[in-house]
Amino acid sequence: MMSVVAARVDIARFGWEAFRASPRQADLLILSGRVSIKMAPVVRRIYDQMLEPKWAIAMGACSSSMGVFNNYAIVPADKFMPIDVHVPGCPPRPEALMHGILKLRKMIQDDPDMGWRERYDAEGTEEVLEGAEPAGA
């Protein structure tokens, strides 16, 4: 992932080089690496703290399927959070991650909300401030 922001494969071309330390300011969560059972609720909490619209990419073989570490201790990312694009590889080449991000970009351009709420059976989970109306309702 570090070479994705480096010179050869450059996500700054698209304006995406800003990696934020806080989930509140982020649009995309790139989950790279394996997630243990103990860590899964923590990652889920970070994903929940992101503001909508938000997307998630599972990078690497370990977060999508179990990868090399197919054992009792880790859990694939699909089981506890919605993932939009899986990028395979161990480790994924920077071009592969770039392809995954561009594929996500195309998916968003074609269908901006990507049927998120129907796909994940999440109707009624919009956050609504007091006095405001839910979007699209």
């Binding site: 059972i37 179990m66 197919n70 054992n71």
Partner: protein, 137 residues
């Protein structure tokens, strides 16, 4: 060297005082599954002046898997004995805080025993993607 489980604290203390093995490098757990007594605990000691290593081994049966904890004398054994407890189920009497360290606290089973299954998920392909459990299924 092989010792009886009840004597471990005295033996380690005398090795430190009389023979100069002043560093406890690690505490390991072993499962000798078909042979009884089934569980073993190995203590790696290091004599830094003579650069000499010694392994102190003891065996405990599964029915009564308790060993006296050496944590009061050797503080490094704190986390290491917790790991042996978590992975093998050896209960250390007198340990100040014996709880799981690698697996979640409410996990059942001791993963590194020989009769514990490896676990993991079935490998995801396109043909079994729809039937494998995930966030939405």
């Amino acid at each position: 060297m092989e010792i009886a489980p009840a004597t471990v604290r005295g033996v380690l203390a005398s090795l430190r005082a009389d023979h100069g093995y002043r560093a406890l490098m690690s505490v390991h757990g072993v499962d000798y599954y078909p042979q009884e007594p089934r569980l073993g605990v190995h203590y790696e000691l290091l004599d830094m002046e003579r650069v000499d290593r010694l392994t102190v081994k003891l065996r405990v049966p599964l029915a009564e898997p308790s060993v006296e904890s050496v944590t009061p004398d050797w503080p490094t054994a704190d986390h290491q004995e917790r790991e042996v407890y978590d992975m093998f189920g050896v209960i250390f009497e007198g340990h100040p805080d014996l709880r799981r360290i690698l697996m979640p606290e409410d996990y059942e089973g001791h993963p590194q025993r020989r009769d514990f299954p490896i676990g993991g998920e079935p490998v995801l392909f396109t043909h079994n993607d729809a039937t494998s459990p995930g966030w939405t299924r």
